[in-house]
Subunit: 210 residues, 2 copies
DNA sequence: CCTGAGACTGACCGTATGGTCAAACATCAA
DNA sequence: TTGATGTTTGACCATACGGTCAGTCTCAGG
């Protein structure tokens, strides 16, 4: 039952697979799937093109390997939202984790964005399955918090969407943000503060829903 | 001095140019620049490939024609924000216009998103010029409103970014939003309500900045 | 009905790109 | 040293794609 997914065995295999995935992340996230070429990936990984294809069956296989690893780490911050915790602190904690992910893994965010933009041809299953399930679960928790008056009663789905939108925007539209702000700014630090304040005011339990 | 930009003269030229741009918008927004092919565009426009190239010098020229027309219509909603108006109403009006744009022109939004994701290679000038200028101008207006206590004093740049992020998210990540919500929803209608409420609570002048 | 500018097309070209393969090379246990 | 296994590569292939061109067709104005 072990070794179902045959892991790379030798040291060289592990090294080269990692180098290829790292290079592919760089290239795919910047150029999109069709925009990226095997030559670019090979060059970025300091390998020859045939050698890249020795480790991965095809360009598509590399892309799938990246996307496969992505969904889990993407869901982790939401998964960590604790139904037993203090509502506002839990949601703000989620926000902070998402801001940190955008800051620390912008390439992954852009890879994801590229995929969804093209209609998620290789991720729809994961989105309709894993992701929807988790969101449904956490949305129920947030709704209960609202019903209990512990936070303002807002639509939990759109609350989650808005957290995604705001945090990922700073990774995906990085060039635009920096171009508009000009030099001398730390977009992610400012964004973190702004977004936390935004949700604090939105969710303050004394705010009455109409 | 007239006719600097030679407009299409004949009826056929106007028709076919429009058909090509419409088809190209469809294809570019769904596939990105490199993902799109002239054959796809030609097929979508019901023209032969050489005929498409009879109207536009190259694939790039079609793309540029689309992007060129885009920036103006993209800035219009912000441009309409009136410094002499009632602050909260002005900002909520801007929000509503952006939501409507996402709802009515999702392909344009995705075309824009694709471009920025790839580092805005063909739009950086417009972003650092036109767009930054306009944002600087309106940010000053909003900052003045905050300083005067007519709305909460929040960072105007990140306020604008957050409006962009929230509204465009529903166009750009449409498939994800619909997949998570499931059937029986009108994402844009719900988003409009949610986002307006969010900014209303954020900007309520009685909310004290710390 | 002519005619010429405008509109259109099939056939073609050069290059880029994903992928293959046979052979060479490296590594290491026996 | 040797053989076996794992690794690497240059040369090559088929296709897709952006773009060209010579020539044909269309149609509005005279």
């Amino acid at each position: 039952m072990s070794d179902l997914k045959p892991r790379p065995r030798t040291r060289i295999q592990r090294q080269n697979r990692d180098a290829i995935l790292e290079a592919a992340l760089e290239v795919f996230s910047a150029q999109g799937f069709r925009g990226a070429t095997l030559d670019q990936i090979a060059a970025a990984a300091s390998l020859s093109k045939p050698n890249v294809l020795y480790y991965f069956a095809s360009k598509e296989a590399i892309h799938l390997a990246l996307l496969g690893g992505l969904m889990d780490s993407w869901l982790a911050p939401l998964r960590a939202l604790d139904p037993a915790g203090e509502p506002l602190a839990e949601i703000l904690g989620y926000v902070r984790r998402k801001v940190e992910m955008s800051r620390d893994f912008p390439r992954e965010s852009r890879l994801f964005a590229n995929e969804i933009l093209q209609g998620a041809p290789r991720m729809l299953d994961a989105i309709e399955g894993e992701l929807k399930t988790l969101v449904d679960e956490k949305a129920a928790v947030i709704r209960a918090w609202g019903a209990a008056g512990r936070i303002a009663a807002v639509d939990p789905y759109h609350l989650i969407f808005s957290i995604w939108a705001l945090t990922q925007h700073y990774a995906d539209f990085d060039v635009q943000v920096r171009a508009v702000l000009g030099p001398g700014h730390d977009p992610f630090a400012e964004a973190g503060q702004f977004i936390e304040e935004l949700f604090t005011r939105l969710l303050a339990p004394d705010a009455r829903a109409h």
